[in-house]
Assembly symmetry: C2
Homo-oligomer: 381 residues x 2
């Protein structure tokens, strides 16, 4: 069963076709698996082999090309005869490539000589060449993030899943808080966080934590993207907990920092600067602001406290943790509209510790609303 | 702290340089993050932004280029002055690209006009062009999976981690067996499996389950790559449990099938055919066999039982779940050597259920050895 109603998928496709029409495209080859999920509901963990969704301007339902073994996955809304499996023999074949099979289908569908949009950033130079060879008369046009931009603004049904993801994120953060203690191994805390993320609530379960939580204690927390180890938390450990709640592929990010013992003065001041910046953003931002204005307000507030954040302060969030569209950074003039969703992410890293605070939010006409209900405190245990 | 001893990294690099020399390369740009980990120990979860390891033929230690915030991650064995951070401003910049910064470094290192190997399959057509523009006088050569092939044969230290991964996989499978029952939600079972994977044992913890276990009950188990849902297991559910034990980035895959109730006759016969094929492979294969000979023996055995497996029966496994090198399939004439590691993966999927059995193994001169100690039974509860 697909995640959304047929009607919603058809509306999304209509919008995609409108954008295709503006680019003069006869068909669009979608390869980004998050976009395939967005437009059809197909949710196989199968993007490590070639696959594509082909949106044909003149057809109501798109066509999905998968590896044969993945065809029975009944998660796309489209009719079975629009789901095409290529034979197993193409997998890891020394000469043949699944795109040869794609080419035959394109000819059958009458689009092999047409103007075809393609998500070029999801091809390699070699697969790009294979695709061109498979349909040598097609004119390929790179559409960049055409579909991804469409995902920036969420539907009520999407927002409902993101709200559930927010509830799960709060539960997972609580699990982190409850389990981190002097002498406990990082991996044991990570296990409890993961279990909370996947279990969800009795009403709705969690989805795959695509981006794992990384509750690493200092000094490893001086770098933001390291995984946990077998190390035990020590007195005065500063742990950065960046995690997500995942629900039906949608994610709500959430970060807090936890200190075992008395936080050092600089950390307390950094926390206060960040909390004030968050509160300024949540008190002022609403639809109509630009991304760079949000960043400027944030930066101005922390600067008053003597802290300068060097990296961007957030980015679009939804099906992907980091969506490749709007960034809360200087130079990004995207205008916030109601029902767009972002991750406001404040992280600063020093020589032997780091500090993080983050929340996912939704834009409305009046304000922005966090998907988390947790207080914005520095956790001290 | 890097995962392996400095001496081991230097040996790996020596082998890489030998292969570079055979291709006439002055330097090699490594982008596959598993290869960067293999050659240096760098283990940041940061490959979603541009980064690269540059192995220069004339230098003992390679050079790592990361986003500035990821530089403090003390996981690579190389000296700090060989780790270069590019400024945050390059991230999501509308015009500048981190590769511009890479180009400046290449000039500084005297390799901007040289013959440079590159892992082309890790670039897109656009990033490939950016890289060429950054060093217009370089001659780029696609090295394909040059480093990945080097990883096929494991060192004693790598095999020790894979053995630990095998222990963790057995524990996670036990968690699946213990928790699947009529009326239980799939997500609650997934939570217990994940926790077991991450917790590991009291002696060694588990690592990120990069490929999540997907304990989906029938009829969804008719497709191999679907995630769990909130659905509850029902009487006669057939659940395919494909999971990994993860330890210091190394994985040992393991799959079993569990039936709630009495298995239908066809499933029992398929299980017996598969188990016999596994036992034939484990009784006969040793160093000196080719990949396609393993597949032929497997296929011959199941065929005696009236079952024809259409997809390959395995692939190289190690740092990645599916390594892009040898496949146990017809047409692959790679000769097995001692200490190569594979995942023997038998999966067959029918209209409304599927069956899986898999184990990771190591090749020796006398036989092949499974990383799992579990019996090869069809779980019935």
């Amino acid at each position: 069963m697909p995640v959304f109603a047929r009607e919603e998928y058809l509306q999304r496709l209509q919008e995609t076709k409108r954008r295709m029409n503006a680019e003069g495209l006869d068909a669009l080859v979608v390869i980004d698996h998050s976009n395939i999920f967005y437009l059809t509901g197909y949710d196989g963990h199968s993007a490590y082999v070639p696959q594509a969704l082909v949106v044909i301007a003149q057809e109501e339902e798109p066509r999905l090309i998968l590896r044969e073994m993945d065809v029975p996955g009944d998660t796309a809304f489209i009719q079975p005869k629009h789901i095409h499996g290529y034979p197993e023999d193409y997998i890891a074949h020394p000469r043949a490539h699944p795109y040869d099979y794609f080419g035959d289908l394109f000819r059958q569908w009458g689009i092999a000589g047409k103007r075809l949009g393609v998500e070029l950033d999801w091809l390699t130079p070699n697969t790009h060449q294979r695709l061109q060879q498979a349909v040598p008369n097609a004119r390929f046009v790179d559409v960049g993030n055409l579909v991804t931009w469409q995902r920036l603004k969420k539907s009520p049904a999407e927002l409902a899943y993101m709200s559930q993801a927010g509830v799960i994120a709060d539960l997972a953060m609580q699990a982190a808080y409850d389990n981190i203690a002097v002498g406990v191994r990082e991996c044991d805390v990570a296990a409890e966080i993961m279990a909370a993320q996947v279990r969800g609530t009795p009403e709705f379960g969690g989805d795959r934590p695509v981006t794992p939580a990384m509750p690493t204690g200092s000094p490893r927390s001086a770098a933001p993207h390291l995984s946990w180890t077998d190390a035990r938390y020590e007195n005065n450990s500063v742990t950065n907990i960046e995690l997500g709640g995942f629900r039906k592929r949608y994610v709500a990010g959430l970060s807090r920092t936890l200190v075992l013992g008395k936080p050092e003065d600089k950390l307390t001041r950094l926390h206060e600067a960040t909390r004030d910046a968050f509160e300024a953003v949540f008190a002022n931002v609403r639809a109509g602001w630009t991304c760079e204005e949000v960043e400027a307000l944030y930066r101005k507030t922390t600067r008053k406290h003597g802290f300068e954040k060097k990296s961007r302060v957030g980015y679009a969030m939804g099906i992907d943790w980091t969506e490749k569209t709007a960034s809360l950074r200087s130079g990004d003039t995207t205008v916030l509209e109601p029902d767009m969703t972002f991750h406001l992410m404040a992280g600063m890293w020093y020589d032997d510790w780091g500090y993080v605070l983050s929340e996912a939010f939704r834009v409305t006409d009046r304000n922005i609303e966090s998907f988390s209900k947790l207080s914005r405190e520095l956790f001290v245990k």
